[in-house]
């Protein structure tokens, strides 16, 4: 087993081109678990941690609506909690706060969450609600793939054997954001279900991403259309009543496609996702829009 430690993107992409399928390790918090459980055998492996182009985040285009945030695949959960970024992407910060433990948040990365593409990956419903695209690169060039096309199934992605995830590209949206997660405890917990809610005041859209209630992150489109009608767009807050919250919850629940597994049962997942969704919408009333 050879270990590569490329120090530039070019070096990484060349190595990947020469050995398609070369294992990539970022924080290792998913990969090493797979190896330890004997579900994955490491062949040659490249570490991504010394590739400067994959780290950090930057703005692209205008600062407000119309612009983008480019989040490097090497961005850790701890970095997502950085106040400047957290203000721009509060739902991502809320999601990051619920991930694992301090150790996992220091090591685990956005690229790793995307690379694993677990139905329970906590950034995925957020990226879905943000309408993010995934920037992939290979020695041959780069391509942008919408999140919904990047994640093709549970733990399956559109990543080609010679490609590397470079970044997630997120349109800047003005408006309230929420992330809620239900798990069996308050830390070190994989989601039983999660809900990301993003208000885009410019587009007058409410977007809802659901995690852990289907093979891939789900957008609750019907619920989104309904919610857009019960938000007062002059304030960016929910302005309906109890019946609207209930309806919204039901529509979100209807969009979920949960299963029974070792962490929970389908019927509870549907219930929990409904409760989280209504709570998220309700919270737009009490908090200042971002």
């Amino acid at each position: 087993m050879a270990v590569f430690v490329p120090t530039s993107l070019e070096e990484l992409l060349t190595a990947r081109a020469e050995r398609p399928g070369l294992d990539l390790v970022a924080g290792g918090t998913d990969l090493v678990v797979e190896v330890n459980f004997g579900r994955h055998r490491l062949e040659d492996v490249a570490s991504l941690s010394r590739v400067p182009e994959l780290g950090g985040w930057r703005r692209e285009g205008p600062a407000g609506p119309g612009g983008h945030l480019v989040l490097g695949s090497g961005l850790t959960y701890t970095e997502m909690l950085d106040p400047t970024l957290a203000e721009l992407l509060p739902s991502l910060a809320q999601a990051a706060r619920t991930v694992g433990s301090p150790q996992i948040r220091n090591a685990g990365t956005l690229g790793g969450n995307l690379g694993t593409a677990s139905p329970a990956g906590d950034t995925l419903p957020v990226l879905a609600a943000l309408e993010a695209e995934v920037l992939l690169g290979s020695a041959a060039g780069t391509r942008l793939v919408p999140l919904g096309e990047f994640v093709t199934g549970p733990k399956r992605t559109a990543l080609a054997p010679d490609e590397v995830i470079l970044a997630a590209r997120v349109p800047v949206a003005r408006g309230h954001q929420e992330f809620l997660k239900v798990g069996t405890r308050n830390a070190m917990v994989i989601a039983v279900c999660s809900v990301a809610l993003v208000l885009d005041e410019q587009a007058r859209q409410v977007r809802v991403g659901l995690g852990s209630v289907g093979p891939v992150p789900i957008r609750a489109l019907e619920a989104e259309r309904f919610a857009a009608e019960v938000v007062d767009w002059s304030t960016g807050r929910f302005s309906g009543g109890e019946a609207d919250l209930r309806r919204f919850g039901e529509l979100v629940g209807a969009a979920a496609r949960p299963i029974d597994d070792h962490r929970s049962i389908a019927s509870y997942r549907r219930r929990a996702v409904e409760v989280c969704a209504r709570r998220a919408l309700e919270r737009t009333m009490s908090r200042q829009a971002a």
Binding site: V33, F37, A187, H262, Y268, R271, A272
Partner: protein, 791 residues
Amino acid sequence: MTTPAAGREAGELHVVGKGLPKVDAAAKVTGAIAYADDIDLPGMLFCKLLRSQHPYARIVSIDTSAARAMPGVVAVITGDDLPVKYGIMPTCEDELALEHEKVRFVGDPVAAVAAVDEETALAACRAIEVGYEPLEAVESIEQALVSPDDEPIHGYAGPANVHRLAALEFGDVDAGFAEAAHVREDVFFFEGNTHLPMEQHSATAQAVGDKVTLWSSTQDPHYVHRALAKVLGLPMGSVRVVAAPHGGGFGGKCDPFSHEIAVCKLSLMTGRPVKCTLTREEVFYTHRGRHPVLMWVRTGVDRDGRILAMHFRSALDGGAYGSYGPASTLYTGALQTTTYAIPAYRFEGARVFTNKAPCGPKRGHGTPQPRFALEVHLDKLAADLGIDPVELRRRNYVRPFTRTVNWLRITSCGLGEVTDRVLEASGYEHRVKRPGHGMGFAVSSYMCGAGLPIYWNTMPHSECILNVGRGGVTLLSGATDIGQGSDTVLATIAAEELGLSPGDIRLVTGDTGLTPVDLGSYSSRVTFMAGNAAREAAARMRELLVRAVAEEKGCAPDEVAVADGRIGLIAFEEAAALAEARFGALSTRGSYTPPQGIGGRYKGAGVGPSPAYSYSAAVVDLDADGRSGEIRVNKVWLGHDIGRSINELAVRGQVEGGVYMGLGEVLMEAQAYRDGLLRQPSMLDYKSLTFLDMPEVETILVETLDPEGPYGAKEVGQGPLLPVIPAVVSAVHEALGVWVDEVPVTPDKVVRALDARAKGKEPRYGPKSFPQIPYPPLVKVAPPDAATAAL
């Protein structure tokens, strides 16, 4: 055996009762302690076990040739090399270190490899070819009660896959029910869960000639010693077992295990030291944890809520082997009577074999499940009668110094006082009820050591030797500190008697080659039993020292004070020199055997008797979400009758640890199976509380000065866990108006109970019925007469 010191006022004690740091605290927090897996001997080999991936299968062939041929592999053994059966209970020695006829659960060991490193050993295990013929796995209690198409899991016991049945009646239960103004029946289920110690099991053996020494992370080196001698076919004198410094047991390291036997055998074969450390996943499969128990209880009361008769049934899912099963089964019926005066009591219990990791003892052994059922059942009874649930309990509380209907001797009992104190501290009686918020109350009791040993013998349960010489003070005891603080307790007791500090006492413990016997760290027995033995040895030493000083000074022995490092006015070391000059080598002994007559004489009477019982009461305050079913515990008040704290800091630590474990069990922990496979054999997915989930705990200690405990001390290692579980269930009911009669109380169950209520059904989630079990005819035992019942 009332000893004068038991009545000593706290003011007369110098180190007992003080919250001094544990004697091993500094070494532990600085990493200086070498745990079992830190042992590294020259030339050491590493062992891995090949385990079954089938829940139930016949072994048709084992081919180890490829493994043996691998470079770095030194020895490979299979069941043929270790054909002697063993088991912790003499009545069910049904285990082989390595199975060679059939495997009975996923994880059952079939071969062991010793190699130059772990990776090679693991690769060699993979190279062993085992031919299996799968059999139909038994996955539930219900299935185990039906005769299998294939053969039963074991060739003994039965019918079907029943391991053990018990049926006892004390007093006239039918008459009690006939007289009752109200009778209520309930069914409960307690899912199994596991110990989750921080430290995985690890064992290292070193053979020299035909003698072998084993260092192991074990709770009872003595029982491991016996099993090793038996399986290896060696005299007891050729086997030495040393309990390594321990990273947590909770009952999970009480059985003799395959890896312990395998490393000894491999070391004897190779002449090299051999180590085996289990992976975390293997620890989950090794298990021996809390039994899943289905329970049915029926109680008849008079108009005032006084219990007239109780009938309790349990069915335990034992997993694949016997382990402590017969005891576990009886424990589900034994201690109901130690908190409540039940004049007529019937218990029917059953344990079945299934193709799952074997269950055994876990903190509270066999009693948290019935305690949950009993306390929740009493809450429901109280509601039926319109009586306050605390008041209903008080009307039925046992009295101190009485004998229960099943012949258990109750001595000191602070049940009323712990009740008063937690109610007062928590403000339970003045709470303002509001939806989504609840408080719950429950009580319990636990033994201070099992009254009988696991194998029948009349020797002491704990022995100590105390040596004083030019090298200082050394206490030798077979007791094993598994983190509970027994070293601290023993050092504190010896120090108290000798006028020293705990740190002055050198301890040699848990070494069957060097120390006199102690049966082990289980059943909360060490403080009471080894503590009494240590106290006796130290008191005898004190007497020698005092005599020497008195003779030297020409004064009466009772004029010689022992305190602050002095015997009389002489420094301890000088007094020791005087005594050694007069009496020769200074060595004293202490032994403890539980008194006779603390239990009954019927078959099954061996489980339940204890020289004393601790008492606990809990109040839990929580919020529960009526939509998502999520539960947030805000605070737990735990009152505990400790008799007397030998070390108050350690006692509080045990209470908090017990509350922590109880909350984990009631809120989330489950050693559960899905499609025949263990659902969560990892610490990420097997959920226990994190820092963020753990509420504040207010510990209230009540000292009842037990007449037989050392300085009046009783247990704290297990009891405080027990009332937490039903108190949470009760508080959830108060918050949401639904009963969850199944532990753990996870949000999905709460939601299903809420949904049932919304549909106009019984506002409850839980088992609907109790299966038909072929219990044997009742053994009818006459209760103690009035004169015997009042001690």
